[in-house]
Structure formats: C-alpha cells, structure tokens
C-alpha cells in the first residue's frame, strides 16, 4: 500500500480539481449571462418591442419578429403538445411492453437527437418547395416536429411512473380504459406532463436553424401564416452578421429577451414538477 501521506495528498489534489472545475463551470455561466445582460441592456428600449424595423442607421425595432415568433411557437405547441402527449400515452398505456412500442421509443430517441437543421431541411422539401415559397406553416411544422418527440418522451416516462394498481382500482369500478387514462392517469401525472410541455416550449422558442429555411424572415409585420413570417432568432442571426452597429446592438437586445423568456419557461417547468411532489 502507498504511504499514507501520499494517498491523502492525492485525494486532496483530485478533489480540489473537481471543485475547481465546478467553480469554472459556474463562472462560465456567470460570464455568459453577464455578457448577454451587459450588451443587451445597453441597446434595450421600448422601440425594440413596439416598432417596425428601420434602416441600419438606428431606430426601429423588431415588433413583427417578436409577434411572429410567438405565433410560430404557439401554433407549433397547439399541434406538438397534444400529438406528443397522445403518442406518449400509446407507448405507456396501450403499447406498454409490446415490441411495437419499443420500436417507436427508439425512433422517438432518434427524432429527439435529430439536429434541428436537419428538421429544417426536411420541412423545406415537404412544405416549402412544393408550395412555391417560404411560409409560416412550414416554420410551425418544423418546430412541432422538434417538440413532438420531446413531449412523447416525458409523457411516456411520467405515465409509466403512475402505479398500475391505480388503473386497476379505476377499472374495477367499471370505467372504460380511455376514461381511466383521461380521468385518473392524466390527473395523477398532470404536473409532470405540464413540465414536459413547458420544457419543450422553452426548447423550440429559441430555435433558429429550423426557421431559416421554412418561415424564413420578413422585414414587415406579417401574421399571415401562408407568407414568410418574421422571427426574432432569424433576425438576430441576420443582424449580428451585418456590419452595422445599430443592428448588432438590436441583435444583442433581442437575444437578451429570448434568453430571459427561455430561461423563465425552463425554470417555470422545473418548479411545476417540484410543486406537486
């Protein structure tokens, strides 16, 4: 056995390194948030949320982009959340333990791991190219495609956690299975399902790559979903790549808003699940 003192020092060294890397990770988070807040606040003003885009010399805002992104996300959620919850229901209830449900779960993992740009390209070829132009529906579809596997996965694991005896108790009272699922299982798992949906919304609300080739962008206020719909993230991408100070400033300010919204939804989602348990 090694001398005692050597072992103690090896222990101290290794554990200090671990502590140092945790501190490093936290510092990194602090630096990134600090940079976003610093740059974001220095160009933040009401005009960003209330005015239409102006030229690169300053002024104007991204009203349309904020509304556009909210609408794209909302439509995606209206489709993605129910489909995801239903799919998760099939996997955890009707298909539990069956071969088909294992296959679906594997494909769900694959869909979850798809790079978002691949989803964007896919939607471009099925919903943009055949219809002759970028449109909002395609953007929402791309976001929904990203959302469905996320919600399916959380739903499946939340429903699996509901004790089977609970279902048996309800079935013994004579309720048909669908009512057991809706009135007993869903209610028991409600906070978990909500968390899954909120985290998925947080994920899609900040997406850029799937929108670039689908809803594209639009300098004007446009809420017609069959036309290109502006979005904040794509605007940030375009503005940050421009050589104009004013646009770069607006990109930072818009990025700050996106970060705050995404982190808020995320924290809300995490608190929801804690609040119930």
């Amino acid at each position: 056995m090694k001398p005692h003192r050597g072992r103690i020092w090896a222990n101290r060294l290794a554990l200090s390194l671990a502590t140092a890397s945790a501190l490093f990770g936290l510092t990194l988070l602090a630096i990134i948030l600090f940079d976003i807040v610093k740059h974001g606040l220095s160009s933040m003003n009401w005009a960003l949320l209330t005015e239409d885009p102006a030229g690169p010399m300053g002024g104007g805002g991204l009203k349309g982009a904020f509304l556009g992104q909210a609408m794209l996300t909302l439509v995606a959620t209206l489709v993605g959340a129910p489909v995801g919850i239903l799919a998760g229901t099939y996997l955890a209830e009707y298909g539990r333990g069956k071969k088909i449900s294992k296959v679906c779960l594997s494909l769900c993992d694959l869909a979850m791991s798809l790079p978002s740009i691949v989803v964007g390209i896919f939607v471009y070829s099925i919903l943009v190219k055949p219809f002759g132009g970028f449109n909002g529906w395609a953007g929402s579809a791309a976001l929904a495609i990203i959302m469905i596997p996320l919600v399916t996965r959380t739903t499946e694991s939340m429903l699996t956690m509901v004790p089977w005896t609970l279902r048996e108790a309800a079935l013994a009272l004579g309720s048909p299975y669908h009512q057991v699922i809706i009135k007993v299982v869903y209610r028991k798992a409600a906070s978990g399902l909500l968390t899954g949906v909120l985290l998925a919304i947080a994920r899609i609300a900040g997406e850029t790559a799937p929108l670039m080739f689908t809803s594209f962008n639009n300098n004007y206020f446009e809420l017609n979903m069959s036309r290109p719909v502006p979005s904040v993230t794509v605007s940030v991408y375009q503005y940050a790549g421009s050589p104009y100070e004013a646009w770069i400033g607006q990109a930072w300010a818009a990025a700050l808003v996106v970060t705050v919204v995404v982190l808020f939804l995320n924290i809300l989602g995490r608190l929801t699940v804690k609040w119930k348990s």
């Binding site: 072992r7 103690i8 222990n11 554990l15 390194l17 671990a18 502590t19 890397s21 945790a22 990770g25 936290l26 990194l28 988070l29 940079d35 976003i36 740059h39 129910p82 919850i85 239903l86 799919a87 099939y90 996997l91 209830e93 009707y94 679906c104 494909l107 993992d109 694959l110 869909a111 791991s113 798809l114 790079p115 740009i117 691949v118 896919f122 070829s125 469905i148 596997p149 399916t152 048909p176 669908h178 699922i181 809706i182 609300a205 900040g206 850029t208 790559a209 670039m212 080739f213 594209f216 993230t233 940030v236 991408y237 940050a240 790549g241 990109a251 930072w252 990025a255 996106v258 995320n266």
Partner: protein, 302 residues
C-alpha cells in the same frame, strides 16, 4: 357509445405514435430522394473524399465540411469532458446539500440557452478575446515545434476558426455531459461506497475504485451523445467557424462544417449545389444515427 369512444381514443394515440415512425422514416427518405441528383453526379466515395467546393464548375465534395464537423466535435468533447466530470464529482461527492440543487440547476440552465445566443456570445465576446490573448500565446508556445508547429500559428487574422468553434461547442455540451455523469454517479448504491470507506479508502480512491467502474458505461454513453449534439449544432458554429472553403493549414484558420455550409448557402444555392447540400445533410443524419446507436449499444450491454 363508450366502446366507440374507447376505440377513437385508442386510434388517436396509435396514430400519434405512428407519426413518430412516419417522421423518422420520412426524413430519411426525403433526404435520399433530394440528394439523388448529387449522388448521380458526384458518386459516393468520390463525394466523401473530394475537397472541392467550386461554385463555378459546380463540383462539390464533402471532405472539408466533414472533417470540420468531426474535428470541431472531437475538440469540444475533449475540452468539455474533464471539466464536466469534475463538476459531476463535485456535485455528487463534495457539494454541501444546501447548494446542491441550486448549482445543479444553474449548470442545467446553461444547457437551456439557445444555440443562437451562444453563437452571438462566441462571435462578439469569445472570438475577440481568443484572437487577442490565446492565439498569440499558442503560437508562441507551440508554433516553433517541428512538423506540427504551423498548425498552432495564426495564418489568417481573425478569431473565427476551428478552435473557437470547438470552444463554443464545449461550453454548450458541458452541462449536458455534467448532468448525465451526475445521474450516473448518483445511481451508484451508497452501500458500495460505504464498504470502500470502511476499508480505509479515501474519497478519491472510492471514486476511482467503486464509483467509476459501476457508472462508466452510463457516463461514456453520455459523452458519446454529447458528441452527437456537437456534430449537429448549427447556429453557434455557423457564427464562429469562419466559413472558408480552403485547406486546413492551421487550427486557427477559418474552416467549414456541414452545418455551417448548409446554414450559409442553402437559401442561395442553385439546383446542383442544393442537391450537394442535401447530400451533406444526409451524411449528417447518418453520422448522428451512428453516434446514437453507439451510445445505446454501450448502455444495453450491461
């Protein structure tokens, strides 16, 4: 009536689950169909091994975007893994219980920040910093080495290059690896650890001799999944990689990745270039599938 409702509800859930199958198969089929013109023109191996990206002659090859993607992801995993494992060890073994949830949550919030925000930060905060301090330092330290010295010298000015991309990716996957590793470490039964302590092992010896062997499959598969994320990451990389189709003469040279090429060129591409871009997307899809299968195979072998 109730039976009818039951059937309708069953069908709805079944169709929703089937949509996942349709979706994944649909993506694969669409990518294959759309990249066919590219396949017919450039072939398979000759596409993968060609370093051409010429708009004039319309000759396109995947070699450079592919190496860029793989190198950036490898670099990111190499940089992020030690820190992430340190964070996981700290959280499971050392951290006072009061701080635990707070710190774990802070690290996971890092993972929730959208890709575009990391890109913006990389472009305007990290890249100038690296250009000013890190690149000269590396050039001075390692630039004089025989054979490989040139790879550490800054040949083209600017902070947008492969190393910057790797670093931004490393920051992005760090929380992902850390939280998966933490879950892996936390699943090691207390009794096992206590038996090591009982034999007089120090904390570190317990981690090396008990915690790591019991959890390594989960942790390594998490690292592989993180590599998969790094492969497909788009916005952050598109900002900081520099987007230059040229030979990689230095790690500090602007380069391309599959995702950066798609993000920058897709909307302005002509038909042949477009099919080359679809072909690249297909390559990315398959690379991602490979990485995912590897991670799952590792998990299942227990």
């Amino acid at each position: 009536m109730k039976r009818f409702q039951n059937i309708v509800f069953f069908l709805m859930t079944f169709l929703a689950a089937a949509s996942l199958v349709l979706l994944t198969v649909g993506v694969l089929v669409t990518l294959i169909v759309e990249s066919r013109p590219g396949f017919e023109r450039f072939g398979f191996l000759s596409f993968l091994l060609s370093n051409q990206w010429n708009y004039g002659t319309e000759m396109f090859g995947a070699l450079r975007p592919l190496t860029g993607t793989v190198l950036a992801a490898l670099g990111a995993v190499t940089l992020a893994t030690p820190v992430a494992l340190g964070v996981a060890v700290f959280l499971t073994e050392l951290c006072p219980a009061r701080l635990k949830t707070g710190i774990a949550m802070a690290i996971e919030l890092l993972a929730a920040i959208p890709s575009i925000i990391y890109g913006l930060w990389g472009l305007f905060a990290l890249a100038p910093f690296l250009e000013k301090y890190f690149q000269p330092l590396m050039g001075w330290l390692l630039g004089g080495l025989p054979w490989i010295g040139g790879y550490f010298q800054t040949q083209l000015a600017g902070g947008l290059n492969l190393v910057t991309a790797s670093m931004v990716l490393a920051v992005m996957i760090l929380p992902f690896i850390a939280s998966l590793a933490r879950e892996g470490f936390a699943q090691v039964p207390e009794v096992l650890k206590e038996s090591a302590y009982g034999l007089g092992a120090t904390r570190w010896e317990t981690i090396v001799a008990v915690v790591w062997p019991t959890s390594k499959r989960a942790v390594i598969s998490g690292i592989i999944m993180a590599a998969g994320r790094a492969l497909g990451e788009t916005m952050a990389v598109a900002y900081v990689i520099g987007n230059r189709h040229g030979a990689l003469d230095s790690l500090f040279s602007p380069y391309v990745t599959i995702t950066s090429v798609i993000a920058n060129e897709f909307n302005e591409a002509g038909p042949i270039q477009m099919s080359a871009l679809f072909y690249l997307t297909l390559a990315l899809f398959l690379a991602n599938l490979l990485v995912l299968s590897l991670a799952r195979a590792l998990m299942r072998k227990e």
